[in-house]
Amino acid sequence: MEIWRLPISASQRGKLISAGYTSLSSLSSISSSDLARELNVSESEAMNILKVASHSRGSETSNASCSIVEGAQSAWDMLHDEESLMHITTSSADLDNILGGGIHCKEVTEIGGVPGIGKTQLGIQIAVNVQIPNDFGGLGGNSIYIDTEGSFMVERAFQIAEACIEDMSEYNRFLRKDFQECKIKMQPQDILENIFYFRICSYTEQIALINYLDKFLSENKDVKVIVVDSVTFHFRQDFDDMALRTRVLSGMALKLMNLAKRFSLAVVLLNQVTTKHTEASFQLALALGDSWSHTCTNRIVLYWNGNERYAYIDKSPSLRSASAAYSVTARGIRNSSSSCKRIKMM
């Protein structure tokens, strides 16, 4: 496209041509202040010329802000992205409610708690639930389970997968009566086949694997969640240099966040608990230190409250602080109050 076609005033056109700008491509990389100086016009006029030029070039965005900062996205455009974001259900409606629908994709969620509270159970449940097909409101994706402690029990994953399929059949029967009853063809074995299991034996392997995931995910685009159980274990032993540990951990967290955003998947990190001395008393706190607590986007603490297991949103940019009860049953993670099967309405 040539300069003489631009819908600008003749004098501006003349100044452009005499300054040596004959084609639109030459205007693509100049800033408005430089152009103003060269043409001897006001800055607002120069900005106008550039805007018109970019319009005519038919650039991708109609948003003026993009020509100012490369790669930026306006908050309004991001709103659309955020609203269409998928969530992974935890199979407990109360827990999903406080999470705003479930575990968010494109974000890193850290879940920590004392031994025996159900972290691995929740991790396995998420690895199964991500595979719920689109017809039932799920993501229909695969999962990566990174096991650093050896706590992944295949028999338990089978139990949870079986219960998930049974719940889907029940949902089918209750709600889609009038439509063609689509039989659930999924078997627990199919669900297990879509869980990619990695066993990590040292922190070096952990770092190497997270580096390698970049390539792995480009080859396996169906993966929609990465569960690391637990991210702490190898970093609590044999680390004499704490500063090194902090650097390595933050590097790892950044890579995971990068993976989450690029491949639109959810990252769930399970963390352990340690005692912290604060204000003349000892309290429980999630492990790996204060600098780690800044790195994750969302932070959920699982704890005992009386006789019930509770989840508390400790940190989140978009969810309010709330706690909800849940329970660990033979079928997996479920709501706490009722003992009968609950159908989650999607």
Partner: protein
Amino acid sequence: MANKLISEIPLPKSIANVFSARNISTAKDALTLTEFELMELLDVGLTEVRSALSQISEIVAPPYQTALSLMEQRFQNEHLGGHFPTGLKGLDAALCGGIPFGVLTELIGPAGIGKTQFCLKLSLLASLPTNYGGLDGRVIYIDVESKFSSRRLLEIGLRSFPEIFQMKEMAQEMAGRILVLRPTSLAEFTQSLEQIKVSLLQKQVKMLVIDSMAALVSGEHEQGARRQQTLSWHISFIKSLAEFSRIPVVVTNQVRSRNHEDASRYSFQVQSRDGAIGTTMQYDSHLVAALGIQWAHAVTTRLVLEAKSGERFIKVAKSPISPPLAFPFHITSSGISLLSDDGKEVMGPEINAIHCQVNSYWNLCCNVKKCRAQ
């Protein structure tokens, strides 16, 4: 895998030379540095550093397996899909077959409750041939407190499997499979562990018992957090031993009284002073595990043995597969046995509490002495 030499990884010659010139010889050294540190150290550009790191990472990263192939592999190659039946039917049913292979199982309880008796029974079972429910292999028993009694072991064998143990040669064969080590200090224990790693695959060892883990550190002088740090290498090592050899590892732990360093609440819990605090207090029993919270995270299955109102219970306190059940048990001349195979479900954090009722403690000690003397 972590100590893989850079020289063994197929990197382009130029960058491999630079790595060795700067003394970065193992993958571990290369991966713990950030990209910028490497750029500075090696004096190369970002793209070269990135490509070298991605090649190293690809080689060092472990291969994956689908959960389905993991399950098929376990059920094909391993005894009962990777479980060692304890002979206690209710417990085995709850644990989906028995004590899992490849991970740590902890027995915790007050003194005299029956932890060593349980370990003796398990060692015996593991040495038996498979048609009797055993693993048909050797057992390494690390006896820190010199509680191992071979007389008691043979008595258990005679009462539980008379057809085998009545014949002297068979009894000798079975007892001969149990190798007892008696380290007197943590340093000696560390040495034995390293030797064990070597002999695990060569000598057909099918189970490792450590009785007890807590006694090893109680001899050392550090307290609290320092004590935990002392053990962190051992925790990691024993777990990796269990993992690569795929054998059941049983470890016993002691109890101690709760002190001010034992926290049980988070900062957000302390702030909200509602009625829930009152109920949690009653579950904070005065006995806690001796080895601390880091150890508690490292074990996969925790079995709590306790005494309550004159009865003894074995509770499944932490397990990836079992609901929180408590089984009443007693100790007889043929070892430990359950009084009922139907476990009672325990709600809430009570499953983790360790009770040792003081009024029947004396009875407990007397019973133990009676059992041992028989």
